[in-house]
């Protein structure tokens, strides 16, 4: 992961903490990754693993307590307030709950025009035209634009929310659990839309979700987070089908899959134990309290993240052994041993 000025997002050794002394939570703890322009970078992890915090810090919405963030060759935290406000138009977040983004007393059209008003862009007629154009881009029918938020369905509201982020012509979008609250058929529609927008506008996404199927479907590369740390980074398909970290493997195994023939059901890895408390993270490898492969050293030594195969970064003492399983028999063997 060399630092290139051309990266849309470059995060090096970033730490974000909340609270202090006894209530100190290291929500993100020494994380490094880069995202190329036009790339879809997925972030997976259980509740509380620090995905949202990472996403917000990566676009400069909250200030990290350590490490570096670069957007191209810009350091967003070195900008003065005015310059940062202009810069942030290029780096937007779409959050899970579209309700929070809308003022209940404003129509959808007014809400979509609002960011341009705040940014001082165009006159009223221009803002209106741009808002209508973006509502059309997200395939929200014009007659809905004069409705109030409570008069739209969840999927329609999420579309309007996307239009609201698009009016400022962003380059990077952090999509934080954007389809979590939606039914599967509407979710499919939204994922198609996100994909189309990425193609049409060459957007860069940080696509955050706890749903493995969603993240791995849409992403080029994924990062698997546990407790503020990245366990594994690599191409989405490789991490899904040949995980090199026991946590990725367990997540993959826990994620239900549609199988028409129950006799073919996988032997699932069921993680025991609860997700540990953020105030009291486990020593050594943070995953050791639940890891089916943990050995003695795992509770004392923290594994170092290393590049096992070009483009695949893993932090586990036994990553080489995990890799050897695939090297020996290839994916076919794995399918046999786990079925």
């Amino acid at each position: 992961m060399t630092t290139q000025a051309s990266n849309a997002v470059d995060v090096q050794n970033m730490t974000v903490t909340f609270g202090r002394s006894r209530t100190l939570v290291r929500a993100v703890d020494g994380v490094s990754f880069t995202v190329a322009p036009g790339e879809i970078f997925g972030i997976i992890g259980e509740s509380g693993s620090g995905k949202s915090t990472l996403g917000r810090a990566a676009v400069g919405m909250i200030t990290p307590s350590g490490g570096e963030v670069r957007h191209g060759d810009v350091d967003p935290f070195a900008l003065n307030r005015k310059a940062l406000n202009v810069h942030r138009r290029k780096y937007q977040i779409i959050a899970q709950d579209p309700n929070a983004a809308f003022n209940p007393r404003m129509t959808i059209l007014e809400s979509v025009m609002e960011p341009m008003y705040i940014a001082g862009i165009g006159n009223r007629a221009e803002r209106r035209a741009r808002a209508l154009e973006m509502l059309d881009t997200v395939a929200l029918s014009p007659e809905l634009s004069n409705r109030y938020p409570h008069e739209l369905s969840g999927g329609q509201k999420q579309r309007a929310n996307i239009a609201r982020a698009l009016v400022l012509d962003p380059e990077v979008l952090v999509c934080d659990e954007v389809v979590a609250a939606l039914d599967v058929s509407i979710q499919a529609d939204m994922l198609n839309l996100f994909w189309k927008l990425q193609q049409d506008f060459n957007l860069t996404y940080l696509f955050i979700s706890h749903d493995l199927n969603v993240v791995s479907h849409i992403s080029d590369r994924v990062a698997v987070m546990y407790f503020g740390k990245i366990m594994e980074i690599g191409p989405a398909e490789a991490v899904m089908n040949r995980p090199l970290h026991p946590y990725s493997e367990a997540l993959r195994s826990a994620e239900p899959e549609i199988i028409a023939d129950q006799a073919k059901a996988r032997e699932r890895i069921i993680l025991q134990g609860e997700i540990p408390s953020a105030l009291n993270p486990p020593s050594g490898c943070r995953f050791h309290t639940r890891c089916p492969r943990a050995a003695d050293r795992c509770s004392t030594d923290e594994p170092v993240q290393r590049e096992l195969v070009p483009g695949r970064f893993v932090a586990c003492h036994f990553a080489e052994e995990m890799l050897a399983r695939f090297a020996e028999g290839g994916a076919a063997m794995r399918r046999e041993t786990v079925s």
């Binding site: 599967v184 994909w195 791995s216 239900p256």
Partner: protein
């Protein structure tokens, strides 16, 4: 895993409230009253659950899954809810029972767990006290005996220190622990039927896998049948024997899980299957079902899926009933034609 064929008692495959069915819902209609008056929420819902089997109930938000469950449990206030049809449980029609008779069945013969356990647990009592109450309500046993059963129940759901946990209030438990407590409470009286309404939707995948595993293991040990409500087709495919798909307040397809998933007959079931994202599936090509579920007050008079169905034809504007063929049910005018053209299969 589910009960194997060999262990399961022989049952008739017909739709009639036939011998062998544990629960048989027949032509269930439900009207609810809101500000604008009465509205039909369930219309002609029919299905069966056999002893010891796991039945999956799938469908989009608002299609009536929870209302079907609440109708069976008779948990809807009569002032705001009117039911018609039959809900045969053993030799009794639950819709004809008095409130007292029903309260003896609830928790004892049929119990239910919900998506959000906090809504079902009472915040002012310890979890131990709540399980003890459930036992005392249905069995003539001493308080001490009830307490022992409660501890055993907590132990059986994998709670490591059941005596200590029993002293805690629901608020101080994690989501996964609360759901375990709910399962302990639901199974402590060893009911014949457990209705689980989205029991793992609010949980992380790793905890979800723990809970599903537990639920199935316990129900298998105790021979409990499960009605498992979810919008997650994958969970159904892995855990259920049979399934029904609901749409707009009706059952539109039903049958053994393996058959329905391998050869779905209803265009809506096919649509749901094609909507699920997967790692390997080409991006931008998820087959979303166009449009949305019509509002309850504006249901099309014919097939309810007609406005969204890629195979809709003029005949589809005629009302369509549910048809039984072998051990499968289907509510579609054109299913035979479409199956022949292989238009709806995977």
């Amino acid at each position: 895993m589910s009960v194997t064929e060999a262990q399961r008692p022989e049952v008739a495959t017909g739709m009639s409230a036939g011998a062998g069915a544990l629960l048989s819902v027949d032509g269930l209609k439900l009207d609810l009253r809101d500000e604008s008056g009465w509205v039909r929420v369930l219309d002609d819902v029919s299905f069966q659950i056999r002893p010891r089997e796991t039945l999956g109930v799938v469908g989009e938000s608002g299609c009536g899954k929870s209302m079907t469950a609440l109708s069976i449990m008779q948990l809807l206030p009569p002032r705001y809810a009117r039911t018609e049809g039959r809900i045969q449980f053993g030799d009794r029609d639950l819709l004809t029972l008095s409130r007292r008779q029903m309260s003896r069945i609830r928790g004892r013969n049929i119990s239910m767990i919900f998506q959000e356990p906090m809504s079902a647990l009472d915040p002012v009592f310890t979890v131990g006290a709540q399980i003890v109450e459930t036992v005392l309500c249905h069995f003539k046993v001493s308080r001490r005996e009830a307490e022992e059963r409660a501890i055993d129940a907590l132990d059986s759901v994998g709670i490591a220190a059941p005596r200590e946990i029993a002293q805690l209030y629901p608020m101080s438990l994690s989501g996964g622990m609360r759901q375990r407590v709910m399962i302990a409470m639901a199974l402590v009286c060893e009911p014949e039927l457990l209705i689980a309404d989205e029991p793992t939707t609010a949980l992380d995948v790793t905890i979800q896998a723990q809970i599903m595993d537990l639920l199935l293991k316990l129900s298998q040990q105790k021979g409990t049948a499960i009605m498992f409500i979810t919008h997650n087709l994958a969970l159904v495919s892995q855990n259920c024997d049979r399934m029904i798909t609901m749409y707009g307040g009706q059952v539109i397809e039903g049958g053994p899980v393996a058959d329905v998933l391998a050869t779905p007959r209803h265009p809506y079931t096919t649509g749901l299957l094609h909507s699920v994202p997967e790692a390997g599936r080409a991006r931008g090509t998820l087959n979303a079902i166009p449009g949305r579920v019509p509002s309850l007050r504006a249901m099309p008079p014919g097939c309810r899926f007609e406005p969204r169905c890629p195979h809709a034809a003029p005949v589809c504007r005629q009302p369509v009933g549910i048809e039984q063929t072998g051990d499968r049910q289907i509510r579609c005018h054109r299913w035979q034609e479409l199956t022949q053209q292989q238009a709806v299969s995977q």
